[in-house]
Amino acid sequence: MKFIKFLIVGIIFGIVMTKSEAISWYRIQEMFRFQSFHMYGIIGTAVITGVIGTAIIKKLKIRDISGASIQFFPKDKSIIRYLIGGSIFGLGWALSGACPGPMVVNLGYGYITFGIVLLFALLGTYLYGVLKDKIPH
């Protein structure tokens, strides 16, 4: 039962991804063609709110539900892995119109062909695990 709260937040995530239309291939095309403010508005609002909230959490040393102070983990320092990995991700995002979250939301929406996208995303993740030590990070 301790997991039920994550189920509820996940449900809200699925609903907001659907209702914001961020799950749509068309919206991702609009974004990459710079022809609509919609996706920039969504991500921009989330980030600006996120920056302010994160700063407040750090400043006030706000604690989580268990009473521990909320931790932020800095990402490993590198340029190459983020630039190349990010670019590979972007190629797939613009092709399939979905990042990993929206893939499963689309499944729930009823687009069962996203099962293929998801299956190959798992395969891609597996391939990364296999090649991890052979590619620059």
Binding site: R27, R33, I43, T54, I70, F89, A94, A98, T125
Partner: protein, 186 residues
């Protein structure tokens, strides 16, 4: 209220909810990052026996898988109870560009040219979905995160690596949109 919920949600309302989801996860002692689930599922499937990257205690990640299940349910609920089933309205300029690539006017949320069962059973249609998924799966792990982990959580924490990753998302996205899609669909 119901009318407000069944219409497409505005960008600012959606953005606020996404930020609220991130803060709720932090309050629950976790971080908001979706693509880690792909690694976890590989591990559950037994990939850890062969590849060290997947050899970890996946039971510590159950909370995120539960979030994933919730996301599927959320998509279903939004479709069944909060949807008007009207075709998605997108920018006229995008419609025009896409029509030049052979896409008809939208009739629903997704283009049937890509996501109908019929299309998925054609060789080209299948390859587009498969390669798209493969690139997202590989790229998100290589970059150490996807849109939620980098663009939302990472940028909120002013992480330079996340900014570089987001620049990468756009390099790849623009190359696909302007150079590769015309080769595939024209």
């Amino acid at each position: 209220m119901i009318e407000f919920l069944t219409q497409p949600w505005s960008w600012w309302f959606s953005g606020l909810i996404i930020a609220a989801i991130m803060f709720t996860m932090l309050f629950f002692g976790k971080s908001f990052g979706f693509s880690s689930n792909l690694r976890t599922i590989c591990s559950i499937a037994g990939a850890g026996k062969k590849v060290k990257f997947f050899d970890f205690d996946w039971k510590t990640q159950i909370w995120n898988l539960v979030f994933l299940v919730g996301a599927i349910i959320g998509g279903f609920l939004a479709k069944e109870f909060l949807s008007t089933d009207e075709p998605i309205k997108i920018a006229a300029s995008t419609l025009k560009d896409l029509s030049e690539l052979g896409f008809e006017k939208p009739t629903e949320v997704q283009p049937l040219e890509l996501f109908s069962l019929e299309n998925a059973f054609s060789l080209k249609g299948f390859l587009v979905l498969a390669i798209g998924g493969l690139l997202v799966g590989f790229g998100s792990r290589y970059a150490g995160g996807c849109t939620s982990g980098h663009a939302i959580s990472g940028l909120s924490n002013l992480q330079i690596p996340s900014l570089i990753a987001v620049v990468g998302f756009f390099i790849g996205g623009l190359i696909m949109t302007f150079f590769i899609l015309p080769l595939i669909f024209k």
